[in-house]
């Protein structure tokens, strides 16, 4: 479904990604794991189009995304939940969620809201509350729902556990399982390898802007857990 080949990303003179290649098949949950600065978020941002790649290609569902803007990539079927949640703080929870379903018509929006607020009752309870007033874990649920409201084929989850208490990590993990149960393909990054490995089917261990190892969860577990402490 997603094929990234030989991708390079530079921030001025700093090379954030050095010839990274990854693949994500339909229905998989693929984990990008590595320490801070490993290039995980740069890779996610390059896939959604928030940063430009200086070399390499990103193909999604057989289509080359390289020339497409960020909004075109999202409308092509990619959902995005950013690092640090970045909910629209002054907007209500419901408006945040429906932003992801913009332009899809009232019926599709109602369907998305009913489905998501059914999975995450918190959304209904806090529907009218400004999202900026929610706790970090609650905001993460809103960011998930916003990414899912367009019923995307692929969801990018960037550091979903970042800064969360263990109780919220468990709840967010459950939310990811809900996405998996629906058959959603997921590419997620996480510094906290231990809980993330429980959710993934395959993974890539990154360091210094490169992929150091890839394979099944069992194959990468040792290196991934070692990287967690770096």
């Amino acid at each position: 479904m997603l094929a990234v080949e030989n991708l390079e990303v530079r921030y001025g003179g700093i090379m954030a990604l050095r010839g990274v290649s990854i693949e994500v098949a339909k229905g998989e949950t693929v984990l990008l794991v590595g320490a801070n600065g490993a290039g995980k978020s740069s890779l996610i941002n390059a896939v959604i189009g928030l940063v430009n790649a200086s070399k390499g290609s990103v193909r999604f569902a057989g289509r080359d995304l390289s020339a497409l803007s960020c909004d075109c990539r999202a409308r092509a079927g990619i959902g995005y939940s950013p690092e640090g949640r970045r909910v629209f703080s002054t907007m209500s929870v419901k408006d945040n969620v429906l932003t992801g379903a913009h332009g899809r018509g009232k019926v599709a929006q109602r369907e998305a809201w009913d489905w998501l607020s059914g999975i995450f009752p918190l959304l209904k309870e806090r529907a009218a509350q400004p999202a900026g007033q929610l706790s970090g874990g609650e905001q993460q649920i809103v960011a998930f729902a916003r990414a899912m409201s367009s019923f995307p084929d692929l969801v990018l989850l960037d550091e979903p556990f970042l800064g969360l208490a263990p109780v919220w990590i468990a709840r967010i993990s459950e939310a990811v399982r809900q996405m998996q149960a629906r058959g959603t393909t997921i590419l997620m990054t996480e510094q906290m390898a231990r809980p993330a490995l429980k959710l993934a089917t395959r993974g890539y261990v990154m360091r210094g802007g490169e992929v150091r190892r890839s394979g099944t969860v069992a194959e990468i577990r040792d290196l991934a857990l070692a990287e967690e402490y770096l």
Binding site: D71, Y80, P82, S89, M91, L98, T99, G100, S150
Partner: protein, 288 residues
């Protein structure tokens, strides 16, 4: 007592006019992060389009007002889409572009219509009198149209997909785009909405006040003052501040004299900046 009530009504009417102007100004800042120095120019252009449509084409005044609003909105769309959009993140460049557009609009109007104020009068005259108050009918009509426009704008911003998308872009442009919102479509539309409001206000108000090529300067200054008082980028703040400014202007003009009124206003804004730098309803910092 009659004078007190009448002045209050004039103040509310002024406030509604200022609100329409300031809402457009604050929308552009809030969504695009652009301080539109051409905003006063769209007000003047709206007045001249309405004047030319009624005088030279013989159209009824309400039709002229609609044409003025649509014309200024169209120009705003084209300006944003083909010039401003390319440089929207460069604050100095957008400042120069909007200032340049204002100078071009003022000069163009001067060349086409000349420096003299044309005779452009509101088609309805008369005064509404009631128990303890009087109110010029033209002000009443302008007030009604402004309130309808303000309510429509609020509905658009807070109860439609379009408004939700604009608010998301204002909050975090990058993340909004990553949710599939199209800045290249929505930014020009937002700009057109704002300049259309300025043109509508110009078409409504210039027959009552005055019409001349350079009246855009005080309009820009008042818009600035209102959005600073209300909080840059805040739609609610701009509305409340506009009515505060309108009432202060009206009462000070009657009871203190025009220059003292302006002094009172600027003192108020200065105090606001010292006590609450982000304005009445402003946020501490704008999203990237």
């Amino acid at each position: 007592m009659e004078g007190l009530v009448a002045t209050g009504l004039i103040g509310i009417s002024l406030g509604a006019q200022y609100a329409l102007l300031a809402l457009g100004f604050t929308l552009i800042f809030g969504i695009l992060g652009v301080v539109n120095f051409a905003h006063g120019g769209f007000y003047v252009l709206g007045g001249y389009i309405a004047y030319a449509t009624t005088t030279h084409l013989g159209a009824p005044y309400p039709v002229a007002v609609v044409i003025a609003a649509l014309g200024t909105a169209g120009l705003g769309y084209v300006f944003e889409r083909f010039l401003l959009e390319r440089l929207v993140d460069d604050h100095l460049a957008t400042l120069m572009l909007t200032l340049g557009l204002y100078l071009m609009m003022s000069s163009g109007i001067l060349v086409v219509f000349g420096p003299e104020s044309p005779s452009f009068e509101f088609p309805i005259t008369g005064v509404l009198r009631g128990g303890g108050f009087y109110f010029p009918l033209q002000n009443l009509i302008v007030l009604a149209v402004c309130i309808v426009a303000i309510v429509t704008l609020y509905w658009l911003v807070y109860h439609t997909d379009f408004g939700r998308a604009l608010r998301a872009l204002a909050d975090d442009r990058a993340v909004a785009a990553a949710q599939g919102l199209r800045p290249k479509l929505l930014f020009p539309l937002a700009f057109a909405l704002a300049t259309g409001l300025a043109g509508l206000t110009g078409a409504l108000v210039t027959p009552i006040l005055s019409l001349a090529p350079h009246i855009g300067d005080p309009v820009l200054a008042t818009s600035f003052l209102i959005v600073i008082l209300g909080g840059l980028g805040s739609v609610g703040g701009a509305t409340v501040a506009a009515f505060i400014v309108g009432l202060i202007e009206a009462y000070s003009a009657v009871y203190l004299g025009g220059s003292k009124g302006a002094l009172a206003l600027f003192t108020l804004v200065l105090l606001m900046l010292v006590i609450r730098p982000s304005g009445l309803f402003g946020r501490e910092a704008r999203g990237a």
